[in-house]
């Protein structure tokens, strides 16, 4: 019997994990103007990387190196970094719509690979055999979940603070300079390509971190977790919350995840049995309408940039919207 509190802890944990991913996307899009259509791939790299490195040996596929948890998590983030570096070097100089297609393709290719390469990561069956950290000491109960939530929230706050400082730093000013006027920035001796690549890899690492935490939480990951729909959900979160705005990103994550789980619950509770198969479809129609609706009526998101108090003296934000 899952009590309401228990359920809320569960909900908050996943929402917070997704919020971390949305923060990564905000660095890509809101701050650097990069259109990442393949969020699911970097998220997935982190998830798969963490589980393969930290899991116990499994029949039939690679992995099971049994590394200590922190190492496994960092390994997942490193996998996301490597993937982002490769993708970035090849595609970041492309026009926006080409970049969207190319990154979308990366995610499709990654999911295809994971689905088929059984020797690599279990194929459609996914990766199992992962022991959640400190499970021996704390067991599997409510206490564990609560502590896990606290840990995730700590990570979320840490990532948020890191990004806020990054934006206020000289690097952040450089990002804005390149967004506003690339030629001028180049004339000052900065290489836009290098700067964009750094931002891209950093954002991807954050997405990988989120993926690693996600995989850790469920102690399981499969290709079903990295479908393009995950990318759309994370984009929806950013669009709703407010692109270019880290608080908006977090707000958007909780709102959209809340709406998603609430609608899922309502549909499974109230829809007739024969219609249960279609609850996913209804949810996707709703999320699609949310994306379109926001873009038509409030493209700057719920928390537009100008409402955020900027740090005195160290940053100046221009109005950024989707």
């Amino acid at each position: 019997m899952i009590g309401v509190v228990s359920y809320l802890v569960f909900f908050a944990t996943v929402a917070a994990i997704l919020a971390i991913a949305v923060l990564g996307l905000n660095l890509h899009w809101g701050n650097t103007g990069l259109f990442n259509g393949g969020v699911a791939a970097f998220f997935g790299a982190g998830a798969y990387g963490t589980l393969l490195l930290g899991g116990t040996p499994q029949d039939g596929h690679l992995g099971g190196f049994g590394l200590a948890y922190p190492a496994a998590l960092l390994g997942g983030m490193a996998a996301a970094a490597v993937m982002a570096w490769l993708v970035g070097v090849l595609t970041l100089r492309l026009r926006h719509d080409y970049l969207a297609i190319a990154t979308f393709g990366v995610a499709v290719a990654f999911e295809t690979l994971m689905r088929n390469a059984e020797w690599l990561a279990g194929g459609a069956k996914g990766v199992r055999g992962f022991e959640r950290p400190l499970r021996d000491a704390l067991g599997d109960g409510f206490l564990y979940n609560l502590l896990f939530l606290v840990a995730v929230l700590v990570v979320l706050v840490a990532v948020y603070l890191f990004l806020e400082r990054l934006i206020g730093s000289p690097f952040g000013r450089l990002l804005r300079a390149i967004r506003e006027d690339e030629t001028a920035a180049r004339s000052l001796g900065k290489t836009p390509a290098q700067v964009r690549l750094t931002a891209f890899v950093t954002g991807a690492v954050i997405m990988g971190l989120a993926g690693g935490l996600y995989g850790t939480f469920y102690a399981f990951v499969s290709p079903q977790d990295i479908l393009p729909t995950l990318t759309f959900q994370i984009w929806a979160m950013l669009i709703v919350g407010g692109a270019g705005n880290n608080r908006g990103a977090i707000l958007g994550a909780f709102l959209i995840w809340g709406a998603w789980t609430a609608s899922g619950w309502a549909l499974s509770r109230f829809a007739p049995v024969e219609a249960q198969l279609y609850t996913g479809s209804v949810q996707f129609v709703l999320i699609g309408l949310v994306i379109v609706g926001m873009l038509l009526w409030r493209p700057e998101g719920l928390l537009p940039e100008r409402l955020v108090v900027s740090q005195s003296g160290s940053s100046s934000r221009t109005q950024e919207g989707v």
Partner: protein, 304 residues
């Protein structure tokens, strides 16, 4: 391998039709339309509805043109579906894309197209069900062209190939022989100059959506004829169709035509070396290759 080549040519037939519409939209409206492939779904399902309707109303049309499984009703349904899908495309533009475009945010249109794709695809699933469907319950027997190596071809596949080429030929004639066609190409190249020559941009944009929708409907029906009709057909065709436009060069109708066949053939030939599960990744690899080697594709021009 020859079988793969043949299958590739068949796949290319409907990929080309889808890609031509997308390349026009991408070039003239300057956004990557992730919902274009859903127009193929709309076309396929609309044709299904009209096919059943015409068969019921006019039983004489239910007879198939042997050895095809194609019926007169389906031919009529295809034509009606082309109109209906074109109209749907215009409607979606009026309701969603135009407003965003006129507020000056090109990139929002890409996100909006993500959203529309989700909406359309899942609405279709809700209305028609998640299972796959076929236009005709008849089993189409393949003709054996050769026994060793084994080469089979279904009459429906031949029809699809010929019909696709016929449609593309008609479009080619329109683009190279009519002033409407010149006006369309003029808008694609230089909208301001086109206006100075009396071309109404909004009318042309509507025309582009109508054409793209009609071609997509045909592509969807042809896909449905040679495979099956499912709500996720759009999702499965998004990347191959994008790949075809990128290979051909965005803005080039001839490029999209060639690109469709190239992607179709490459994807099917890849089956010789890759297990079938990997084929969804092939279009992506082709996109990557093109963007690295020749970003403007075969016939595209940079347009900024």
């Amino acid at each position: 391998m020859i079988q793969n080549l043949l299958d590739g040519v068949l796949t290319g037939s409907f990929l080309s039709l889808g890609a031509i519409g997308l390349t026009l939209v991408m070039h003239i409206l300057r956004f990557a339309n992730f919902s274009h492939a859903e127009l193929l779904s709309i076309g396929a399902y609309a044709a299904l509805v009209f096919d059943r309707l015409f068969e019921a109303l006019l039983p004489v049309f239910a007879a198939a043109f042997a050895p095809l499984t194609l019926t007169g009703a389906l031919v009529l349904a295809l034509l009606v579906s082309m109109v209906a899908t074109g109209a749907s495309a215009v409607l979606i533009d009026i309701l969603v894309f135009r407003r965003i475009r006129e507020n000056g945010r090109e990139l929002s249109m890409v996100f909006a197209s993500f959203g529309m794709a989700l909406v359309v695809r899942n609405l279709i699933g809700l209305v028609f069900g998640l299972h796959s469907q076929l236009y005709s319950p008849d089993i189409a027997f393949a003709t054996v062209l050769s026994f060793d190596p084994l080469i089979l071809v279904k009459p429906d596949q031949l029809f699809v190939f010929v019909a696709a080429l016929a449609i593309m030929a008609v479009l080619h004639l329109v683009l190279t022989r009519t002033t409407f066609g010149f006006a369309l190409r003029a808008v694609a190249e230089n909208p301001a100059l086109a206006q100075a020559n009396g071309v109404n941009l909004r009318a042309m944009i509507t025309a582009v959506w109508l054409i793209a929708g009609a071609l997509a409907a045909a592509a969807g029906v042809f896909y449905g004829l040679s495979h099956q009709i499912t709500p996720v057909m759009g999702r499965d065709l998004v990347l191959p169709i994008f790949a075809a436009t990128i290979v051909g060069g965005i803005g080039s109708v001839n490029g999209a035509l060639l690109g469709g066949f190239i992607v179709g053939i490459a994807t099917n030939l890849s089956l010789v070396i890759l297990p079938a599960g990997y084929t969804p990744a092939v279009p992506f690899l082709m996109i990557l290759a093109v963007l690295l080697v020749r970003p403007n594709g075969l016939f595209g021009e940079a347009r900024e």
